[in-house]
Symmetry: C2
Subunit: 317 residues, 2 copies
Amino acid sequence: MSGPHEGTETGQGPVYERVALIGLGLIASSMYWAMQRAGLAGEVMGYARSAETRQTAREIGLCDRVCESMSEAVEGADLVMLCVPVGGMGQVAEEIAPHLKPGATVSDVGSVKRAVIRAVKPHIPDGVHFIPAHPLAGTEQSGPRAGFATLFENRWCILVPLEETDPEALSRLRALWEGMGAHVDEMDADHHDLVLAVTSHAPHLIAYTMVGVADDLGRVTDSEVVKYSAAGFRDFTRIAASDPTMWRDVFLSNKDATLEILGRFTEELFALQRAIRQGDGDHLHEYFTRTRAIRRGIIEAGQDTPAPDFGRAGKSK
Amino acid sequence: MSGPHEGTETGQGPVYERVALIGLGLIASSMYWAMQRAGLAGEVMGYARSAETRQTAREIGLCDRVCESMSEAVEGADLVMLCVPVGGMGQVAEEIAPHLKPGATVSDVGSVKRAVIRAVKPHIPDGVHFIPAHPLAGTEQSGPRAGFATLFENRWCILVPLEETDPEALSRLRALWEGMGAHVDEMDADHHDLVLAVTSHAPHLIAYTMVGVADDLGRVTDSEVVKYSAAGFRDFTRIAASDPTMWRDVFLSNKDATLEILGRFTEELFALQRAIRQGDGDHLHEYFTRTRAIRRGIIEAGQDTPAPDFGRAGKSK
C-alpha cells in the first residue's frame, strides 16, 4: 500500500488526511478523542444540526473545526462519518452528496445496517466509496460531552462491505477502527441485523418494558422501586436509560428481526410462566442451569470480568 | 437496654454471644466475614448439609466452628440464621426446633417472605423469637467461597416483623444488620413479596428467558452471542447466571406476585411490539423518555453511579 495512509498500522501517520463527523453525540465525540489520541486523522471537521451542540463542541474543543454547514464540513474530506440516528441517515446523505470529494469514503455508525444501506446508498455518487459500519460500543449517556477516547477499546466494530466495495478503501477504514482500539469483524447486512436483534435490540426493548411496568404499578411506589433496585432491576434501568431517539429509530428500522426475536422471547416466557403456575421446579432448574453456562462463555471470551457486580456500589468503599 | 448487646450501636461489643449459620453459601459466608470484621458475634457456628461445603468452609476458615449436625450448630445459639434456599426453610425449622435455646431469635435471609413464614412459623417453639429478614444483596456467584465482608454495605435489609414480634429482639437484629453496613427497613410480608416481584423476581425471569432465547436460536451462533454481548445482552447474562436452585424456589414460592408482574409486563411488551409493527415512533419515543427518568432517580438515590458502564471492560485498561 502507498498514499496518505502508508504505515498506518504501525501508527506512523494519519489514516485519513481529513475526516468529517456529521452528528456530534456520544459516538462521534468518542471517535474524535480516540483519533486525536492515536494521531489517526490529519484534521477533523465536525457538524451538528443543533446550534447548541455546535456551541458545546467548540467550548470543549471537540473537533479541530466545528462548521456551520454540512457542506462545509464534508468538503475535501477523505472520510465522512455519519453519526446521526438511523432515521436521519438518508436525508444527511442526500444533503452531502453534491459536496463529496471523488475517492472519498462515506461510512456510518448506525445500529442497523439494512435500513441504512437502503436510505444512504442511492445518494452516493459514482467514485465515492460507501462502507457501512457499526461499532458495538456505547454507554447510557448521550450528547457531545459524553465521549471519551477509550470507548472503542476492546469492543467490536462490524464492517458491512457491499459487493462493490473497494478492498483498499475497506482496509483503510479497518485500520482506522483498529487504531481506535476496536476489533474489526465483517458481516453481511442481514446477518448483522439479526445478530444485533438478539444481542442488543430485543434486550433493550425488554429492559424498557420492565422499567415502564415498574413505573406504572400503583401499588409499589417509584421510590420503593428506586430504593430496592440493586436486587436486579438496576441493570435494566441502565439499559433503559439509553437515548430515546436513537432507540426509536433502531426498532423502527430493524422491525422484522426485532419482532421475530420478541416473538421467540414471548413464547419462552409463557412456557416459564406456565412452569411457575404448575409448580414445575425441574423445568425451571434445568432452564436456569443452561443459561448459567452462557455467562461463563462471555467471561471466557473476555467480554466481561468474573468479578461479582451486583454489590458494585457497596464495594466501592 | 442492657445485656450482651449493650452498646452495640457504637461497636463496643458483640450483638449476639453465639450465632448459628445454617447453610454456608454466598449470604452466610458474607455474614460471617462481616460479623467477624465488626466484632458483632461472640462466636459463630456453621452448618451445611453437604460434606463438601463443610470441608471447604473449614479450609478457608469460615465460621469459628463448622459442626457436623444442625442440632449441634444451633445448641445454645442466641441467633439462628436460616441461609438455605427458600424451599428448604420449612424442613430446617422442623429439624432445629427441639434444639433451640429459650429466648433465642430465629431469622432467615430468603428472597420471599410469605412462603417462608408459612413454612417456618409453625415449628417455632414458644419463647423463641422468629423475625423474617431479607438482605437485598448478592452477586451472580454462589457457594462458601463467594462471600466477602462488604457485601451488605449500603445495601438494604428488609425486616418483616410479625404481629407478636418482641421489640427488643427486633432492635437487636436491626443492630446486627446495621453493624454489617446495611440500611434496615421494615415491611409486611405481602408488600415485601410484591416489591421484590417488581424489582427482582420478574427481572430475573426475564433475563433468564432472553438468555435462553439467544441460546436456542440456530441462526445466530452461541459464539456470536457471546462475542457481541457488550451491546446490551451482557447485563442480562450477569443476572441470569445466578444460582438455579435459589431462583427456582423464589419463583415457586412467590408465584402469585411474580405471575401478576409478568402479566403486566407481557401486556406492555405487546403494546410496544404493536407500536414497532405499526411504525408508531411517537409512542416509542415517549415511552423511552419516561423510563430514562427512573434511571436518574436510581442514581440520585445512590443505588448506582452515573459512570457509564457499557464500556466497562474496554475502560479498565
